[in-house]
């Protein structure tokens, strides 16, 4: 394995600007402090202008009497894995990276509604005909109403479409005949978007059911929260039915509304517990299983890449945005999350374990899960990664905190266990075992201060029949007290891997899987890391800007 090209090693040499990455000695204190960072120079320049114009100071990095003197050691840049994009740490901060924000927005603003109940109301209660032609007409109308157009009431204000141009609705069905007879502008075409076998299984599962996938505008989730999404979509959908099918009266409308808002609606996230209460469709309420469904890399990449893209997606969504937000307020955990999608580190480690599994067990999902197998795979994962930290002191320097390291190592173990066993529960237990015991006894140091807390609780809880235990991993998420804290990379990795190992075309829902294959989404969920790289380079075209509303704006 050693003779193969090791991209991680190449990246490390480049970012630390040295050929010898095995030396544990270097020099410090002569790099010019924060000035070695172009971004920080830019920040300071801008901060001075802001301070002058607003009269209140902002960002005082150049002041020596305020906090830590940054840049006393070499300020290495980062490569986004799977790309050639080199960026600074600041470029991966949530507020600084528009792609990361849009990734969250595109998930949050999505809602899926079943149309079958609405069609039943039309047919049975109102005596209307529902045909491909009427559906096409309805889809035109709904693409008028969802972005903010009015259809029923006179004298209403409407929304400037320039502000909601990312908002639309599409149709999803497994019925090939119906699909072919619909206006293709409105169809999420599973056959065209997925590999043949996956498409067949997704279509079979969805069957003749018809779903409307609605994207409310990015601005909607910026002015409100995920709770606005199904309400916005439902209201505008009912209005579209009224107009498209010429429906009058009152009570049938309430049936439409109930169908769209409650009876057949798929919101991606549950509401969260009171202390960190958020509305539906916020990230803390999204179950882990949906991450591998939202991620679309499996359509275009090999298995490991798909797993890596899913981990990047879930890690950012849960740890950087959700946990960082409710725990720390938002200026938080960039480094721990970045470790899973930068410098090819996780990729390289998982490739090693992938080969180890092939060699040891003869393939994916070939070994029956039990405590000994979890121990065996976890041990190999930990020993290998720790060997690499020993071999490359710059890697240890790059992963300077226990939380960063544990995020990586537990994910390697979880992915490996998922691949070997095809069992998501085993994969989670492996991650928790690594986090709670294995690294700690090797290094005599573990994660951050509370890092292993949820792991110690989770091992017995994952298998306990307590009401709050034994929830299947695919349905777990960071709203559960024993899995909530900056621990998302390994569950996502393990769960996704365990389904990849068994060749499943989706993780939790074929409907969600298909809904996010939609090419009109702003964020391309096939290439999570490439998109983030675009954000880092400020080349990402995001939605939801309000420039036309500025003085002098036009549109």
């Amino acid at each position: 394995m050693n003779e193969k090209r090791n991209l991680m090693v190449e990246r490390l040499k480049e970012i630390f600007d040295t050929d010898d990455i095995t030396d544990k000695h270097t020099s410090f204190y002569h790099f010019g402090g924060w000035k070695q960072s172009k971004r920080k120079q830019e920040f300071i320049k801008r901060a001075k202008q802001i301070a002058e114009s607003r009269g209140i100071p902002i960002y005082l990095r150049d002041r020596e009497d305020i906090g830590v003197p940054l840049g006393q050691r070499f300020y290495e840049p980062l490569y986004i894995s799977s790309t050639d994009t080199l960026c600074e740490r600041d470029d991966l901060q949530l507020i600084n990276n528009s792609a990361i924000q849009q990734m969250g927005d595109d998930i949050k603003r999505s809602v899926i509604m079943g149309l079958d109940l609405a069609h039943r109301i039309l047919r049975e209660r109102l005596g209307k005909e529902v045909t491909p032609e009427t559906i096409n007409h309805y889809m035109e109308v709904v693409n008028h109403t969802v972005p903010g157009g009015v259809v029923a009431q006179e004298h209403m204000a409407e929304v400037n479409p320039e502000l909601t141009k990312d908002s639309y609705a599409k149709i999803l069905t497994g019925d090939g005949e119906l699909k072919d007879s619909l206006d293709q502008r409105f169809v999420i075409d599973v056959d065209r978007l997925f590999p043949e076998e996956s498409a067949g299984r997704i279509n079979d599962e969805i069957g003749s059911k018809i779903f409307q996938v609605t994207r409310v505008p990015t601005l909607a989730v910026r002015i409100a929260d995920g709770g606005i999404v199904h309400r916005w979509a439902s209201q505008q959908t009912v209005l579209a039915f009224i107009a498209a099918y010429s429906v009058g009266g009152g009570a049938p409308l309430a049936d439409f509304a109930f169908a769209g808002k409650h009876a057949q609606v798929i919101t991606l996230g549950n509401t969260t517990w009171p202390r960190r209460a958020r509305a539906p469709n916020e990230f803390g309420g999204i179950p882990y299983g949906y991450i591998g469904d939202i991620c679309q890399a499996d359509r275009v990449s090999d298995s490991l890449t798909y797993i890596m893209e899913s981990i990047a997606l879930g890690g950012i969504l849960y740890d950087l945005i959700w946990w960082g937000g409710y725990m720390g307020g938002g200026v938080g955990p960039v480094n721990g999350t970045a470790s899973i999608y930068t410098n090819e580190v996780l990729d390289e480690f998982c490739r090693y374990m992938d080969e180890w599994i092939q060699h040891k067990y003869g393939g994916y999902a070939t070994v029956k899960p039990d405590a000994n197998i979890i121990k065996e795979i976890s041990q190999e994962s930990v020993c290998h990664v720790l060997d690499e930290y020993d071999n490359y002191p710059v890697l240890l320097e790059e992963h300077w905190g226990g939380g960063i390291r544990l995020n990586v190592i537990s994910t390697v173990a979880s992915v490996a266990t998922g691949l070997a066993t095809g069992n998501s529960l085993a994969s989670l237990l492996a991650g928790h075992y690594v986090y709670s015991h294995l690294v700690k006894e090797a290094m005599g140091r573990n994660a951050w201060g509370g890092g292993d807390a949820v792991d110690l609780v989770s091992v017995p809880d994952l298998v306990s029949t307590f009401p709050d235990g034994a929830l299947v991993p695919e349905l777990r998420g960071p709203n559960i007290f024993s899995s909530m804290v900056a621990h998302s990379a390994f569950p996502i990795g393990g769960i996704t891997a365990s389904h990849v190992a068994r060749g499943h075309p989706w993780i939790l829902s074929p409907i969600v899987k298909a809904a996010f294959s939609d090419p009109n989404l702003i964020f391309d969920f096939r290439y999570v890391r490439k998109e983030i790289a675009k954000g880092a380079k400020r080349e990402f075209h995001f939605a939801g800007d309000r420039d036309i509303l500025k003085p002098g704006g036009s549109g």
Partner: protein
């Protein structure tokens, strides 16, 4: 299995108690104690009078008050007329008991109220607010525009704009919309509240904390099947000093360290045949009983450690270190199979960092950071808090003052270790 129970002097109280006595379904005395927490409502009438006079209703701060509605103040001599108000409450609520102590009005509703109520945690405070508002309205002849809304708002705060009552009318337990997890209200008392209710007595605090945790465990289904004995034995040994184990561990290790307690508890477990050392490897013969022994050790370690520094701030580190040493030295599972250690680590980190923690006293069992441990952690934090001589800002004497008064109004909650233990004997005899 039959157990003996000892007091805080290491003296035998009752002996030869069968495990069935710990069953809440059969032990009426324990059910009554738990019932007190659901059906008791209280309010500081002095605060009510001044709040109404100043118009300072609806504040959300725990310390201080940010709201004052100009022109809305109502000057009502509530204290002066409290007897009339109480009489009216008797009429409307038919309570089991009403007492006033230094302006604190304590109402104990009849058991039937919480038997009828589906949400028996929320119901008593809602019902009492209606009765008290009407009593005050009638007492002072208040009409629609005479401030009746102010009276009700003073009692329930922003509810229903807020999701739970936030006014001066109080119950022991937090309502379900406020807490983490279903059937967790018994776990919503803070450590400070429990310690204050127990008069800062170590064994009473532990027993009361355990009773509440045990009530919640029962309610959540942990008293069913596989888990029943685990929690019964935990309650008995860690909560009630069964077989004098906790007391002996404290006594023998009182000058020692966490390590000394680990050594001793393992030794005792070997001697008592609960575990055995076979060629250097410990084997477990009775896991729930081992867990109870380990839990007693955890409590003893906390008492010795927090006792030594006379502060509660090290409780989290002691509890996590005790369990850490125990498992790395012996290979035996730590208390609750890692749950306590994990919860203590989290609690310790939160209470020493920038993320909103506060000290041991402000934690409650259902809090997200500690609810992973069902029963075995909070009693230890309570014990630690009894030793705190004023090293923390949020302590029983400052944030749970009202609980000290409630102690006087609710004699059934004092000396509770002994009362619980005697109830077991009663069960045995029955």
């Amino acid at each position: 299995m039959r157990l003996d129970f000892y007091d805080e002097n290491g003296k035998l109280i009752v002996e030869d108690i069968p495990m069935t006595s710990l069953d809440l379904k059969s032990n009426k005395a324990l059910r009554n104690m738990l019932g007190t927490f659901r059906r008791t409502i209280f309010i500081d009438l002095n605060a009510l009078e001044s709040t109404l006079r100043e118009g300072t209703v609806g504040g959300e701060m725990i310390v201080g008050n940010e709201c004052k509605i100009l022109g809305a103040g109502v000057d009502l001599p509530i204290i002066e007329n409290k007897e009339i108000i109480v009489e009216k409450l008797r009429e409307y609520l038919e309570p089991e008991e009403i007492v006033t102590i230094d302006g604190l009005l304590v109402i104990k509703l009849p058991f039937s109220d919480i038997e009828i109520a589906c949400d028996s945690v929320s119901s008593p405070i809602l019902k009492t607010s209606v009765a008290l508002t009407q009593s005050i309205a009638e007492c002072f002849d208040l009409d629609i525009f005479d401030g009746i809304d102010m009276v009700k708002t003073a009692l329930l705060g922003r509810y229903p704009q807020s999701v739970s009552p936030t006014g001066l009318l109080k119950s022991f337990l937090k309502v379900p919309t406020k807490i983490e997890g279903l059937s967790s209200s018994y776990r919503s008392l803070s450590v400070n509240d429990i310690v204050a209710l127990s008069g800062k007595k170590v064994f009473d605090s532990i027993s009361l904390a355990w009773l509440l945790e045990y009530g919640s465990a029962y309610e959540c289904g942990y008293s069913v099947g596989w888990y029943k004995r685990l929690y019964q034995l935990g309650f008995a040994f860690q909560g009630l000093n069964a077989n004098n184990l906790t007391y002996e561990l404290i006594r023998e290790c009182r000058n020692g360290t966490v390590h000394d307690v680990v050594e001793l508890v393992v030794q005792k477990a070997v001697n008592d045949g609960i575990i055995e050392n076979r060629e250097g490897q410990y084997r477990i013969k009775d896991l729930p009983l081992w867990n109870a022994y380990a839990a007693s050790g955890q409590l003893a370690a906390t008492i010795i450690g927090s006792g030594a520094i006379r502060s509660a701030q090290n409780a989290g580190s002691i509890i996590s270190s005790y369990n850490d040493l125990l498992q790395i030295f012996t290979g035996l599972p730590s208390v609750e199979f890692g749950r306590v250690m994990g919860s203590a680590i989290f609690m310790n980190w939160l209470s020493h960092s920038i993320y909103g923690g506060g000290g041991a006293g402000v934690f409650s069992g259902e809090h997200v950071s500690v609810k992973g441990s069902r029963g075995f952690l909070i009693p230890c934090l309570c014990a630690a808090m009894c030793f705190d001589v004023g090293t923390q800002l949020f302590v029983p004497d400052t944030v749970s003052k009202i609980m000290f008064k409630l102690r006087k109004a609710l004699p059934e909650l004092s000396d509770i270790h002994r009362k619980i233990v005697y109830s077991l004997e009663g069960e045995k005899n029955e």
